[in-house]
């Protein structure tokens, strides 16, 4: 994975991750994917840290909120800018989250690309 343009996508919908990877690859980013928060933490423990995380909120096993809590407790992980992507209703909990940006699904693609470009 190219460290400078690396992104970790955490989303449980395979169609969403696959299409995101396809577009981001086309834009020159390299991507890794995890289908829930726990799988992402396991990935982050074993691999070089990505420049950016795209995080879904509603996921089985460990959802986006729980992942964010774990992320914030780790000094290194907390420094990775994180962009939220969600199709669900917006919870008040996101007000307390330390996130770089937030996009509802369907994602406004141009805006998402601009935001990603800011971080990697």
């Amino acid at each position: 994975m190219d460290r400078n343009k690396s992104i970790l996508i955490i989303d449980d919908d395979p169609d969403v991750t696959e299409s995101l990877v396809f577009l981001l690859n086309a834009e020159g980013y390299s991507c890794a994917t995890s289908s829930n928060g726990l799988a992402a933490i396991e990935y982050l423990e074993k691999n070089p840290l990505p420049k950016l995380i795209l995080l879904d909120l509603m996921m089985p096993i460990m959802d986006g909120y729980q992942f964010h809590m774990v992320q914030q407790q780790d000094v290194e992980l907390a420094q990775i800018p994180t962009i939220l992507l969600t199709a669900g209703t917006i919870d008040r909990r996101i007000e307390d989250m330390k996130i770089a940006n937030f996009f509802p699904k369907p994602v406004p693609v141009e805006e998402l690309m601009l935001a990603i470009n800011q971080y990697c």
């Binding site: 969403v16 577009l23 086309a26 209703t89």
Partner: protein, 442 residues
């Protein structure tokens, strides 16, 4: 307009219009204690008032009593809101029917003049024993004619002048009796009225219970609807998201000449998958509307259930799953092939979703006049608690992206019911589930 008015008598409080009650007294003070506040309350409530006096009062006594008690006494007299007259001017002048009719006319006129109702009090002090039964008939009739009118009537009887039989009669012909005895107010209710009141209370209580139950049901329905809307919007947004991402990705890659024809073809197939996912969701949404109206129109035609099932299984053949059909014997009946297809597709899709990569058995058989379809999976099984609710609307046993609205089994059930059939599940944890559909063969 209020259904109640203040009686002015603390022991009674508010009474409903149409009340006709009596008061037994022994002393003049007893009678004053009852009638003065009774008329005071009526006059202050802008009611037209009639006080028919008899022993132990005469009209002059009453006038001076009221003048002391009511600051606006002169105004009430002047405007004719209050009329004080002797029994001789009334009871001895007119026959019973005329008397009764006059009260009703007086009420109508009072209402027309802007009064809130008519308040009347009479006193039986003048009654001779020979007139008792006639007057009791008058009292009895009053009950039925004022019941829906804005009239209240209070009749006073002197205890010392009544025989025990008289007392019983008076109580019978009034809705309740008031007795000022040893400085305490006592109320004796007419037995029938008491029963009616108790019934009314019970009915009210039942009504309140019904309302509470209905309110809870409505709240649950609203909650289910909101949850459904949230799930539906989530489920619709997800395929649109990936659809857009694929298309943008294709455009971007094309621009950079990064995409081979094979890759392009692959991505376009993905795009198609997403539109199919959307179509399925939208069709389910449209189905709820039709099925919720409780009337499902079926286009029945003679079909072979075995053949139909076989064709549906064929559709899943390249879907990485193993479905076995345990029958080749035709089962013929009149059903709507599109709707039966929907039932089977929903059952199979669930089996594939909850028991992936495991064998699914489908059994078709005929028992007497019933066609039986069974879909047997080797999934994790459904707990008894979940078995009760899986046929309800908007129930999904997995959370998050399960690619469904929680409507599949509900839709299947509505269709089977419309066909006059039955659908149920038998399941054992760890061993799998058997969904059975029974359809009558007509």
């Amino acid at each position: 307009m209020n259904a109640y008015t203040n009686s002015g008598i603390p022991a009674i409080g508010d009474i409903s219009w149409g009340s006709h009650f009596c008061n037994f007294f022994q002393t003049t003070e007893d009678l004053e204690a009852c009638l003065i506040p009774f008329f005071k309350a009526g006059l202050e409530n802008n009611e037209k008032c009639f006080w028919v006096t008899a022993e132990p009062f005469n009209t002059e006594d009453v006038k001076s009593q009221l003048r002391n008690a009511l600051p606006k006494y002169e105004k009430y007299i002047k405007t004719n809101q209050l009329t004080i007259l002797n029994y001789k001017e009334l009871y001895l002048k007119y026959d019973i029917n005329t008397l009764l009719k006059n009260w009703l006319i007086t009420e109508e006129n009072a209402l027309a003049q802007g009064y809130t109702g008519l308040r009347v009090s009479g006193n039986g002090g003048w009654l001779e024993s020979c007139l008792w039964s006639k007057f009791m008939h008058y009292e009895d009739t009053i009950n039925s004619i004022i019941v829906n009118r804005r009239i209240i009537g209070l009749c006073s009887y002197c205890l010392d002048k009544c025989s025990s039989e008289n007392i019983l009669q008076v109580i019978r012909y009034h809705q309740f009796a008031l007795i000022h005895y040893q400085n305490e107010w006592e109320i004796i209710e007419n037995a029938q009225l008491k029963i009616a009141k108790e019934q009314l209370l019970r009915t009210n209580e039942e009504l309140e219970n019904h309302v509470a139950i209905r309110t809870q049901e409505l709240e649950e329905a609203i909650k289910a609807r909101d949850e459904f809307l949230s799930i539906a919007s989530h489920e619709l947004k997800t395929p649109i998201t990936s659809l857009e991402l694929y298309l943008k990705g294709i455009l971007r890659s094309q621009k950079l000449n990064k995409l081979s024809p094979t890759e392009l073809n692959q991505k376009l197939c993905k795009v198609l998958e997403q539109t199919e996912r959307l179509t399925k969701l939208i069709n389910q949404l449209l189905d709820i509307e039709q099925l919720s109206t409780k009337f499902l129109s079926l286009n029945n035609t003679t079909i072979n259930l075995t053949k139909l099932t076989s064709a549906i299984i064929e559709r899943y053949s390249n879907n990485n799953c193993l479905i076995i059909l345990n029958n080749t014997q035709p089962v013929i009946g009149d059903w709507d092939p599109i709707r039966i297809d929907q039932v089977l597709t929903n059952l199979l899709a669930n089996a594939i979703k909850y028991a992936p990569q495991k064998q699914i058995e489908v059994l078709i058989e005929q028992k007497d006049n019933t066609a039986i379809i069974q879909v047997k999976d080797q999934g994790a099984g459904i707990s008894p608690k979940d078995q009760e609710r899986i046929f309800d609307r908007f129930v999904r046993l997995t959370s998050c992206h399960s690619n469904s609205l929680g409507l599949g089994l509900w839709i299947a059930k509505q269709i089977v019911i419309a066909c006059g059939g039955n659908i149920y599940v038998k399941s054992e944890m760890g061993k799998g589930s058997i969904f059975t559909v029974e359809l009558p063969i007509k």
